[in-house]
Symmetry: C2
Subunit: 206 residues, 2 copies
């Protein structure tokens, strides 16, 4: 690829930002190229000029969203800290990430089940299993040492992901249940962050 002028780069970026917003909001099937063009204050033709097709543009956005979602985990998993610290960090970081974009988790989960071919392949490329292996080994080690209760690390980890992700995935349900408007919702999430860490760590104490 050749050196790009500033204007070129700006259009490319503007399109990506607009596409991210529209795809996150509406999903692949619901998003319209015209919506993205409007959001970017450009015309449809330019979207195709830079990204060829809706599908290609979507894949760019989706890949990026996956990284955004799972990168925190990768880092924390490999950090030289205690298991309890890892749990607290995982919960806090994941919630913060989703808090900056409430639709992120449901977007990812929904698209993953829509396109098993290309999306699931990307999951395998991220080597989810290796990402998790370190956590599992540490839990098993702590169990053997008798420092925490005997738990199944698979279910423990799934529960952690569940309690951090679900409040965003089920946002309308949560708002209905607890009668929360947009502002009260933010406060609720902040409480929840602390509650989840405490909940998990409490449950591990022998």
């Amino acid at each position: 690829m050749e050196v790009k002028e500033l204007k070129d780069k700006n259009a490319e970026v503007k399109i990506l930002d607009a596409a991210r917003k529209v795809f996150l909001e509406k999903g692949l099937a619901g998003a319209r190229m015209q919506d993205i063009a409007n959001e970017a204050c450009l015309n449809k033709a330019l979207l195709h000029y830079y990204y060829r097709s809706k599908e290609k543009l979507f894949q760019t956005i989706f890949q990026d969203a996956l990284l955004n979602f799972f990168n925190n985990m990768q880092e924390i998993m490999n950090a030289p800290i205690s298991l309890f610290e890892k749990i607290e960090l995982l919960v806090a970081k994941e919630i913060d990430t989703m808090n900056s974009c409430h639709r992120l988790p449901i977007f990812i989960m929904n698209e993953l089940t829509q396109d098993p071919d290309s999306c699931l392949m990307k999951m395998k490329n991220m080597e989810m299993h290796k990402l998790y292996a370190k956590f599992r080994d540490e839990v098993e080690a702590e169990v053997k040492k008798g420092r925490i209760k005997k738990v199944n690390p698979d279910h423990l980890f799934l529960n952690l992901l569940a309690m951090t992700g679900y409040p965003f995935i089920a946002k309308p349900v949560v708002q209905g249940l607890f009668e929360l408007e947009e502002e009260g919702y933010s406060d609720f999430i902040e409480q929840h962050k602390k509650d989840v860490s405490r909940f998990i760590i409490d449950s591990l104490k022998p």
Copy 2:
């Protein structure tokens, strides 16, 4: 409405069954009337004859899915059983419901965020808050009696929903993390059912 002949009723029902399957799988935006017609082994025109428009057909399916999803809860909430029994029943029943249709929770959550107008109104009509109030009061009562730890019932209930719903919502991620094929997945869910009840009830013991 007049008395229907058998053949009429059959077509109506065949359409509903087909629509449920296609909408659940692809969502409102991704579903095609032609797919539904094919699935029902009928022609598109009949779908419009019975349900007027795609939107109307969808609303019928969505309303039904909402009831399916939240009806269990309603019943269990009002049953004359102990708090621990309620928790066990809620977890077991909700997981069983979703196990019969893995896409049910993500379908509901996704569509709820897509159409705040009509879908969210339906949520309010179901009076989610009242559904939950009984549970909250019971938790607070048990806390006062000192029978369970001092917990925030909102987060407790949200965590319960999270741990039951997330394994289905994030099915591809779970399969990637724990290297599960379709069969191993069913077994995993059965284990999870027991694990979640134990996890919650353990966490409540003073």
